[in-house]
């Protein structure tokens, strides 16, 4: 069934693009509202060569990366502490889960009020997006460690480093990677939102500006580009997730 | 010998072939037996020999590849819930429904009115001696109790035939023995025809009138043992010489089959 499924998925995507192109050529769609796929591809080509666009894209990527590179390690460390130390875990976990329950985007205005929205502030906004989800998953990862095995290994005289490498790491890896994957997705959402809301540079600003000026072909090109890149990042992380979790009994859900 | 009773279940040269990844697997081969009304027939055999497949065919859940299955002389092609009830190792009680609602569920599907359903459910609960638990949820009951409710649910539509696929397999030994007694008591009272699948030779001989012995895959009937031990039976009967002899006969049939399998190479496992 596998090849048939892939075929159907590819077929679906092509059908959508095909219908879209058909609609545009047949004049069903107003080109000032919905440009044709070919127009979008053309606009995309121009954007990629435009220095201004690349500069904004670079800004966005920098913010996203910086937020992740700073936020993830702190979050992992926090999550491990929460997982190992039951007291800390029990007091902090409810708070973290509460934060995760409400999408953090809502606090953007307060953020802007409190801190303004310079580079640092946007960075912090992104970091908060990364922090909570990675920490909660790191905490859950600690719970995945089979303590029976650890005790057994110690009784054989295995050193701490050895135990960390061969028991802790493989057991925790899948959950940690899941957290990192979600972290980067939330990070991207947070940074782009911050840029759309109050910024002078970055992809978010471009999108909003193009929207307001009805530059639909550029808007669509950039939007689709961002979507595709995000999907690719997600899928890559998923593959990674799968590979570190290969030793586990795969529960076939997705 | 008891006078001849009408045959309710009959299989004639039943066969089932699965094709997995384009390689055919013969699950059942040339299965022929008949079950008289009101009798208790067991099927024993090694793991993977196709016992469950056979039961699913009898229940109308799976179609056969060759041969026939007749219930009351009519071929079985789909489930016939008013005549045949099925029980599995897992009670599969619906967790969001109370016990009474669970027992009533098949009756609801069959279109019985609410008043009739309530009455019938109460009767069944009394039959399995769990009347006080009607308002509880399945997770509040022990494994043995859940299986008793499953029996109550299976008997609620008043079927003629009860098919049971290792219903006590997940229970500990003591509960198993008690459930065996329970089942015999209920059977004596309701006089249903029971087709019972089990791993355990002891359980099969303890419960049944007839024991069908099945080979490893491809499953064939390699022997039929008539169990003439007197009824009503209690568990201490398994100490008797007659019991031991019958069990040895079954064991011989199975080991013979095992040796043939070994000779034929591991590929046939």
């Amino acid at each position: 069934m596998r090849p048939l499924v892939l075929f159907a998925q590819a077929g679906f995507v092509f059908a959508v693009i095909g219908a879209w192109q058909y609609g545009s050529t047949a004049g069903i769609f107003d080109p000032t509202i919905l440009p044709s796929p070919s127009q979008v591809v053309l606009a995309l080509g121009k954007l990629i060569q435009s220095r201004a666009f690349l500069a904004d894209a670079f800004d966005t990527v920098t913010r996203v990366t910086a937020a992740f590179v700073i936020g993830a390690p702190i979050a992992l460390a926090t999550g491990f502490v929460m997982g190992e130390n039951l007291g800390v875990g029990r007091s902090l976990a409810p708070l973290f889960n509460l934060v995760l329950a409400v999408p953090q985007s809502i606090f953007l205005p307060i953020f802007v009020l409190l801190f303004g929205l310079g580079f640092t502030e946007k960075l912090i906004f992104g970091i908060t997006h990364v922090f909570f989800v990675v920490a909660v998953n790191a905490m859950a990862a600690v719970r995945e460690v089979p303590h029976g095995q650890v005790v057994l290994a110690r009784s054989f005289g295995a050193g701490k480093l050895r135990i960390y490498r061969s028991i802790y790491l493989p057991a925790m890896a899948p959950q940690i990677v899941t957290g990192l994957r979600l972290g980067i997705i939330f990070d991207i959402i947070g940074i782009l939102l911050a840029e759309m809301y109050a910024s002078r540079s970055g992809l978010g600003v471009l999108l909003l500006r193009w929207g307001e000026s009805y530059a639909v072909d550029k808007l669509m090109a950039a939007t689709v580009l961002i979507s595709v890149v995000t999907i690719l990042i997600n899928e890559l992380m998923r593959v990674f997730e799968h590979r570190v979790g290969r030793w586990r009994q795969a529960v076939e859900f997705q | 010998m008891t006078p001849a009773r009408p045959i309710v279940i009959e299989t004639r040269r039943l066969g089932k072939v699965f094709s997995v990844d384009r390689a055919p697997i013969v699950a059942l081969e040339d299965i022929s037996f008949s079950v008289p009304e009101g009798s208790f027939v067991s099927l024993v055999g090694p793991s993977g020999c196709g016992k469950s497949t056979l039961l699913q065919i009898l229940a109308g859940l799976v179609s056969s590849s060759s041969g026939e299955v007749l219930v009351d002389g009519v071929a079985v092609r789909h489930p016939v819930p008013d005549k045949i009830s099925v029980m599995f190792q897992d009670a599969t009680l619906l967790p969001w429904k109370r016990i009474t609602e669970n027992i009533e569920f098949p009756l609801e599907i069959a279109g019985m009115t609410a008043a009739e359903r309530h009455k019938r459910a109460a009767e069944m609960l009394a039959l399995v001696a769990l009347a006080e638990f009607g308002e509880r949820y399945p997770h509040e009951l022990s494994g043995g109790m859940r299986q008793r409710i499953a029996i109550a649910r299976a008997l609620a539509p008043n079927p003629r035939i009860l098919l049971m696929d290792e219903p006590f397999g997940a229970l500990d030994e003591q509960t198993r023995i008690k459930m065996g007694h329970e089942l015999l008591r209920i059977w004596a009272k309701t006089k249903k025809t029971i087709f019972f699948i089990t791993h355990s030779l002891t359980e099969a001989l303890f419960l049944s009138d007839t024991v069908l012995v099945m080979s490893h895959r491809p499953g064939r009937i390699v022997g039929v043992i008539e169990d003439t031990l007197p009824r009503p039976r209690t568990y201490d009967i398994i100490g008797s010489a007659e019991f031991g002899a019958a069990r040895n006969r079954i064991w011989k049939l199975i080991s013979q089959d095992d040796d043939e399998a070994a000779e034929g190479g591991m590929a046939s496992l």
């Binding site: 999408p103 307060i110 782009l192 759309m196 307001e212 | 819930p81 099925v86 098949p106």
Partner: protein
């Protein structure tokens, strides 16, 4: 009683930090300022609330129905599930907010664009969770259903959907949160009205008290939706809570 005292002390300290200028007026609003904003502008807030709640309600109705239906269909037909499952999860990763400018072009800056944006946001987790809930059901329950003579429809509605309820509920929770916040965030970016619109407006004129009041209204919406869901959960998945409690 003690809790009430803690809250009163907290509010008092909060008010004090502003009164004594411990923190600047642009950063934090004191409870007094927030109440003042409410007293001054409550008609605006009420109108905005009506606007926002309407959008949320329509988006919820759309996302819940289409989401559960899609998830149910994908969950019960194996081929559809195998095909759409990965597609849905992949699309879920897309930062939907980046599509809002396009929605603005296509649907204007009135209610429609926000409703569609929020509904699409909520659709994905609902559909995915419903599908997984159904696919994750122990197949023995389906066998049981068939053995007692259930039709295909009965198996889906009487066995699979109730069995998948906890999963569906979890999806509804995530989806509803995304919808409520989605509507408000979209209003903050570009809108004709609504709580988010007010928040943005007041922020631009540095009316801190008003901004915090707006955020409180937004949180109230989120909490109300959450509370509604908890009631629903209690009605339909009590058995699950009891089951977990028993362990």
């Amino acid at each position: 009683m003690r809790r009430l005292l803690v809250i009163v002390v907290f509010l008092g300290a909060w008010e004090a930090t502003r009164r004594f200028d411990l923190v600047g007026p642009l950063l934090v609003a004191s409870p007094g300022e927030i109440v003042g904003a409410l007293v001054k502008s409550w008609p605006d807030y009420l109108g905005a609330l009506r606007f926002t709640v309407t959008e949320i309600a329509i988006a919820l109705a759309a996302a819940w129905t289409v989401g559960i239906a899609t998830g149910a269909i994908a969950g019960t037909i194996p081929f559809l599930g195998a095909t759409s499952g990965p597609l849905l999860s992949s699309l879920f990763a897309v930062p939907l907010i980046t599509w809002y400018p396009l929605f603005m072009v296509w649907f204007g800056i009135g209610m429609t664009s926000k409703i569609i944006y929020a509904a699409v946001s909520g659709f994905f987790p609902i559909a995915i969770n419903t599908m997984n809930g159904i696919r994750g059901t122990d197949p023995r329950y389906v066998t049981f259903g068939r053995a007692i003579g259930c039709s295909h429809r009965q198996v889906v509605f009487r066995i699979l959907l109730p069995m998948a309820m906890p999963s569906i509920m979890s999806g509804l929770r995530i989806g509803t949160a995304l919808i409520v916040i989605g509507v408000i965030v979209a209003e903050m970016l570009a809108s004709l009205g609504g709580i988010g619109y007010l928040i943005s407006y007041y922020r631009s004129i540095y009316a801190t008290g008003h901004v915090y009041l707006g955020i409180l209204f937004a949180l109230a919406c989120a909490l109300a939706a959450n509370w509604g869901l908890t009631l629903l959960e209690r009605r339909y998945t009590r058995w699950r809570e009891l089951q977990i409690a028993e362990r």
